[in-house]
Symmetry: C2
Subunit: 349 residues, 2 copies
């Protein structure tokens, strides 16, 4: 990075699934941190967490927590972000928010650094980190759009339980053991903790992520549709999504159909663009059964693409299989990369 100073960083939701990954990534990347504040709900305050060689006591997040903070990374749910992100901005911090609270707001940059880091240049203190399933998809689609144009996207997702938090992962593991033991499965959380009905996720597939909207789509599906258009700066792209929760812990996979803007493209043409794309790794060779899977992508930083096929009927149509760790590139890593980009571009001084 171009700067030599250190930055005071606060993590709101520091004890959650994403907060934990953010701590790991800040440490691994030697992010230039002055003071690190770990903030949480009252319930988790007082916990001691090791960061580098220090032990940091988790504090309850309040409006006053952000005094002297340069960068505040929010990942504690939309209502916390709505309440506290403006307070952080008032104290002079720049907020990078991992929830859906501000993403579609006018004037709020929604950023995947490899895709649209220029959007960081104009902001009012709050930067939004896109939805996990959107991030990995646009990371692969942007270079294809640049190279060939992009008119249409139809995606069906295969999403990991960790996207619903640590409690959901515990529920999956408990139900899995119940299933193996021939017991009844107790479902109290998924598909959506705040929703009325709960269904088992173990040995199952739930075609509901987040709440249903009035148009019959889930909020997760609408996030993918709207965020993709915003990040790619193109409302004319047709985007359709079906989002499904599945019984694995980490990494989302996506079966993506795209229509590109050019005739006569071959599988190799598409593969070559993906091979050179920033943050993307092509893992695609049917002759050696090479393709990414949720387990193979786990704990890795990149977005993996395989199963590149040309549609058998549609001249401009291609099919892709896109996999990435939903807590890393889908959340924590992208958040930290936004902070890095802000520094690199001299947007945080």
């Amino acid at each position: 990075m171009s700067q030599n100073r250190n930055y005071n960083v606060a993590i709101v939701g520091a004890t959650g699934a994403v907060g934990e990954k953010i701590r790991e990534i800040l440490e691994r990347k030697s992010f230039p941190i002055g003071e690190l504040k770990l903030l949480s709900s009252k319930r988790s305050a007082g916990k001691k967490i090791k960061f580098k060689n220090e032990e940091i006591t988790v504090e309850e997040a309040t409006p006053e927590s952000f005094k002297g903070i340069d960068i505040a990374l929010f990942s504690a749910g939309g209502s916390i972000s709505k309440a506290l992100a403006p307070e952080a901005v008032k104290h002079g911090a720049i907020v990078i928010d991992n929830t859906s609270a501000f993403r579609m707001g006018e004037g709020i940059p929604l950023v995947v650094p490899e895709v649209n880091c220029d959007d960081l240049k104009i902001h009012d203190g709050i930067i939004a980190n896109p939805n996990c399933s959107t991030i990995q998809m646009v990371a692969a689609l942007k270079p294809l759009k640049e190279a060939f144009g992009l008119s249409r996207v139809i995606v069906s997702t295969y999403q990991a339980v960790s996207g619903a938090g640590n409690d959901a992962v515990d529920e999956l593991k408990d139900q899995t053991q119940q299933y193996l033991d021939g017991k009844e499965l107790t479902a109290e959380l998924l598909p959506v903790s705040g929703d009325e009905k709960h269904y088992p996720i173990a040995f199952n597939a739930l075609p509901q992520i987040d709440k249903f909207q009035e148009n019959g789509y889930t909020f997760e599906e609408m996030k993918m549709i709207n965020e993709t258009k915003k990040i790619l700066h193109d409302d004319s792209i047709q985007v359709a999504a079906t989002c499904v929760r599945l019984p694995f812990v980490s990494s989302h996979a996506e079966s993506v159909y795209v229509e590109l803007g050019k005739d006569g493209l071959s599988v190799a043409d598409v593969q070559n663009v993906l091979k050179d794309a920033d943050g993307v790794i092509l893992e695609d060779d049917p002759t050696t059964q090479t393709y990414p899977t949720p387990l193979s992508a786990m704990d890795k930083d990149e977005v993996f693409v395989g199963r590149v096929r040309k549609d058998l009927d549609e001249e401009k149509g291609f099919h892709l299989w896109i996999v990435s760790d939903n807590l890393i590139k889908g959340a924590a890593l992208n958040t930290v990369q936004i902070a890095e980009s802000l520094i690199e571009q001299n947007i945080i001084k």
Copy 2:
């Protein structure tokens, strides 16, 4: 059924996952059986299996096994069907084959009774039962095609492990326990028992079902594409498929995008057709989180459809979520229904 006589029935592959379901369904439906022959490989011969109040000894399947048999139900892999189905026909039996050996053959009826039972009228002794993932899809798409026309299908599947046989289910369960115990996962069978590499299925998703073809598609994907066109008698329908194996035991789910042949259709128009469709149950109400899942469809005869949505951009586009038990309607039940239809239509005399 219209006939009063009984039929001598042979099940080839009687001890396998599908064979077991065929026995259950023949018994439950009081299929008019005279003699029942249970045939298998040498390895399973000698086993004793209860059927109704009888105990039947499993015999090794040989060309001579089919003497006096009226209906032979094959479900023991393509090579067995290729070797023995013509022998059964020579002995005067009508074969209903559950493998891919004959499906795309010229003059071989490929039948889902609710969809194209008329195709049974002309045959040379062998009737093919379609692929599991095809059956449930065409059962839902045929009534929509009838009502509105159908020009395009893009499907991403969520397929159960039992489609790969009982050994694959054991592998899933073993790996699942290994995962919960923090042990390394041993993969020896999936994604394809005869292929070179094996990957864990527990807490994972494998974008390979059956072997890769030269065009980069898997054989499972090509089955869905080709069989759908054959069953619907329409080579002009654009069909694309991505097939994915997932860590659940039973029922395939499918995220299906369709383009119908009529403008101005509403979600209710599509739902109403599905509501009245033979063998299909509409489970679709976002306001009460009502949709089918693999667990909810397990052990049931019907094809369940939910998540009916109109595409937000494409006037004729709709999205569906189709779920059915892959061993029942996807295999054993459809096989028995073909036999029933042959009798009802006086094709077997």
